[in-house]
Amino acid sequence: MHPVLTLVVQRLALGILLLLAASALIFGLTEILPGDAAQAILGQAATAENLANLREEMGLDRPALTRYFEWLGGIVTGDMGNALTNKLPIADQIAFRMSNTLFLAFWAALISVPLAILLGLIAVRYQNRWPDKLISGVTLASISLPEFMIAYILIFFFAVQLFWAPSFASINDGMTLLEQLHAISLPVAVLTLVVLAHMMRMTRAAILNVMQSAYIETAELKGLTTFNVIYRHAFPNAIAPIVTVVMINLAYLVVGVVVVEVVFAYPGMGQYLVDAVVKRDVPVVLTCGVIFAAVYIVLNIIADVVSILANPRLRHPK
């Protein structure tokens, strides 16, 4: 087998192991900590007897390991059990909310990724001059604020003062795409701002790192035009670091979604998760938590695989 393939397979295997370990950690955390689903249903006033009965009824008295594998098997096969609070199947809720969240994340990514790379390139092109400094200043400011603050500032000015966009992002199937986009324009703007700063900074650093290499000097001393220096020599070496930056930030975006959905009352996974935490609906929290963690881990694995594939030393071994 080609050595690169071996490495990729190794990385994927490690990723699967990590996914398993992460799910075990999340499951284990709720096990170790005091309180369980039975306690949550019956509340503080429950007697020991009532608790024991309900635990038996719900199967909570069986060994944790057995329940972990049942739970894991359920998630993989799409049978995630019912929520404690409204007894509805979790899978139905997730199917509907997942598509909403992906819709939001997709548009945020579609806008922020090209914008971040473009701004990163501009910052490098005008390194240490005013466009670079302006971009760094704005990113510093946006890194210094939590997502929900940015959201309310945007709502205050664009929804309340200017009436440009709704402050609640409710969408339904009856709306046209354009109407839906208008509804989510503010949450998309917030998510874009949040990841843009990180992504732009990291892109700038990645490109600068490449531009300072000796082979770029060689290319300049060949009398190539700036365009050709960048296109032929910088670009092939910058792809891998930039893809890594993008993947890391998409993973970051997935987490940002949680808060932004709450602010805009957007019916997605994040809102579902936070709602469940407040209501102590442990089965929902576990399932949502594992799904968020899985998306985060998978994006990081993709970043690793891309940088393995893009490394010429690994692709063309001696």
Binding site: L25, L33, P34, S144, P146, Y152, V262, V277
Partner: protein, 286 residues
């Protein structure tokens, strides 16, 4: 003393110090009591009046920042909120640093199975976003000031562990550490006299960034309703309490934004300065 400190760092130090002093002396400088209802719901602010943001003929408002959603003085709430937020963030940062750097240094210097075990566990913890882990944990336990500090401190110590270990590994392969080992020095000398003085600056700079992260983290948790619980005030909670006002054009929920941003930027400026000092010391030519 401040001769060689750049202006940005001086400003950063000044603002950071002001916030900490306000937090420490909150009960002295606050005009009213923390939970005291003093006026009507969402009364306008005097500052807005003085800036000329209100129609002519409006009477001069009583409260500097106005009042909140149940008529408490917002300036008082902001000061007490800052106290809670800064206290929790500081305590969590200290916990995170003590745990993370002690374990990180030990892992770097001893190596072997301890290093392997710790590092793999930290890899696992960092493979899951902190916010998600915090949400999972807070669904099972009661959120009190103490549990929040422990939770945030331990979750974040993974990052400090990684940094401390990386810095210590970098230093421990230097020839001067090898020279100390060959001389026959004990582990304590190597850690405290050879490694620590050279690891301190990057760690202190990182401490600033971790502190900012803690402020953002606790604010987010409180905003989501699973952090600091009422009647205690904190900046994230003030946003949650006053967010409905935004739809009526009342900006009460935006004051915490200003507070968090100025604090974060100030701490950032100080951290930048500390880091630059370090690199210039290392990069001394000649």
């Amino acid at each position: 003393m401040l001769k060689n400190v750049p202006l940005s760092a001086v400003i950063g130090l000044f603002i950071t110090a002001s916030y900490f002093l306000a937090a420490i002396f909150a009960s002295v400088i606050s005009p009213y009591g923390m939970a005291e209802t003093v006026g009507d719901v969402w009364e306008p602010s005097r500052i807005g009046y003085m800036l000329g943001l209100m129609p002519e003929g409006t009477p001069r408002p009583e409260y500097w920042l106005g009042t909140d959603q149940i008529g408490r003085d917002l300036l008082t709430r902001m000061i007490y909120g800052g106290q809670t937020t800064i206290f929790i963030a500081t305590a969590a940062t200290i916990l995170s640093f003590v745990t993370g750097s002690v374990l990180g240094f030990l892992a770097a210097v001893t190596g072997g199975w301890f290093d392997q075990l710790m590092s793999r566990f930290v890899d696992l913890m960092m493979a899951i976003p902190s916010l998600i882990l915090a949400l999972v944990i807070l669904s099972s336990i009661e959120a009190t000031v103490l549990t929040l500090i422990v939770l945030m401190g331990l979750l974040d110590s993974t990052r400090v562990y990684r940094l401390a270990r990386a810095v210590a590994v970098d230093i421990s392969v230097m020839d001067y550490v090898e020279a100390a080992r060959l001389r026959g020095e004990k582990l304590a000398w190597i850690i405290f006299r050879e490694i620590l003085p050279n690891a301190l600056s990057p760690l202190v700079a990182e401490m600033g960034l971790r502190f900012i992260f803690m402020v953002l983290f606790i604010s987010t948790l409180s905003f989501l309703g699973i952090g600091v619980q009422p009647p205690l005030a904190d900046w994230g909670g003030i946003v949650k309490e006053n967010k409905d006002g935004i739809n009526f054009g009342i900006g009460a929920a935006l004051y915490p934004a200003l507070a968090i941003a100025t604090l974060a930027i100030s701490v950032n400026l100080v951290a930048d300065w500390v880091l630059n000092r370090t690199t210039s010391l290392k990069g001394g030519r000649g």
